[in-house]
Amino acid sequence: MYVRAIVAAFGTLALKSSEAIYLGTDKDDEGNPIDDNCTYKIVGKGNLHSRWWNITLYRNTKWMANELNRYSYSKTNVDYDKDGQWIIRLSKIEQQGNWIPFDNRSGPMSVSLRLYNPEPSAIADIKSMELPEIIREACQ
């Protein structure tokens, strides 16, 4: 009953985990809140144990209102290196490669990862899987 109430209140019309796993954070890998005065790199590799994935940056639960109208990267449009690794940078400062710019608004930010048709091992225990890291690089 509690799970159903929580899902109704916060995860309206979500899919079951066999269809999609939704992961989100408002902190970097050291546990600090995402700060738009800093540059972050999100580092991952390959298919992330799923058929398709995307990563979206939000402010106040809405897309980032940046000048590029760039809100996300996905399995199909991220640039990979020759080893299948990819890096997405979050920053106000222009970056080479995969880059989601922060906007000039204020408010809490979060990063969401969606995994569509995750592998059975990911459905069974997502915490044990190798997931992308969010690493703070430099701050202004």
Binding site: E19, W52, N54
Partner: protein, 197 residues
């Protein structure tokens, strides 16, 4: 002293009851709000698909919306008759699915493109939503799904491979064509009053 204890027990029991009822009712309340929002406060019809285009920043109203999908929404009402949903499934999608949510927002059914093709070996699936425990004589090409409630929500989700690509117009045109080919209609039931029946 006894009266004080009795009052306290009554208050605790009432508080516990209120808590349980609130938690149990929350999904139904949220579902009503969501259905109303999907029908744009009663301006749109039930049992009709509304096929949404790719959303721009100004269009986003749902918290945590996914920018890389297009969606079709449906508020169904099968109190009078079952609903036939004719689903057109893209051949080379990154992901496509049709999901059904009961009026307590339970996701009781989902069909994705891979399962549709492996189970039914077709790019068109005729799915009939009926009330649970209702009898329905299905046709050979139909898939019958029992809904735990007489009203609910259906959502088609289609992943757009690259909304930022210069070629996205072509991809979207193809996906939109497929998306809009999905339709639904109430099933005409035999007239029980008819002497011919």
């Amino acid at each position: 002293m006894k009266s004080w204890k009795k009052t306290l027990i009554i208050i605790i029991v009432l508080a516990a009851l209120f808590h349980v009822i609130t938690i149990a009712a929350l999904p139904y309340v949220v579902s009503g709000m969501v259905q109303n929002r999907l029908l744009e406060k009663g301006k749109l019809e039930k049992n009709v698909f509304y096929h949404g285009a790719i959303r721009q920043f100004e269009d986003v109203v749902v918290p945590g919306d996914n920018p890389d999908t297009i969606t079709s929404r449906l508020v169904y009402d099968i109190r009078k008759a079952p609903l036939l949903v004719k689903l057109r499934i893209p051949d080379n999608a990154s992901y496509w699915s049709f999901s059904l949510y009961a009026n307590n927002l339970d996701n009781f059914y989902t069909l994705n493109d891979m399962d549709a093709k492996s189970k039914y070996r077709t790019s068109t699936v005729n799915l009939v939503i009926i009330k649970s425990k209702d009898a329905y004589k299905k046709k050979p090409d139909e898939v019958v799904v029992q809904s735990p409630s007489a009203t609910g929500i259906g959502i088609i989700r289609i992943v757009v491979q690259d909304r930022y690509s210069p070629e996205v117009r072509e991809e979207l045109a193809n996906l939109r064509k497929i998306q809009m080919a999905s339709k639904c209609e109430l099933v005409k039931l035999p007239d029980l009053k008819s002497p011919l029946f």
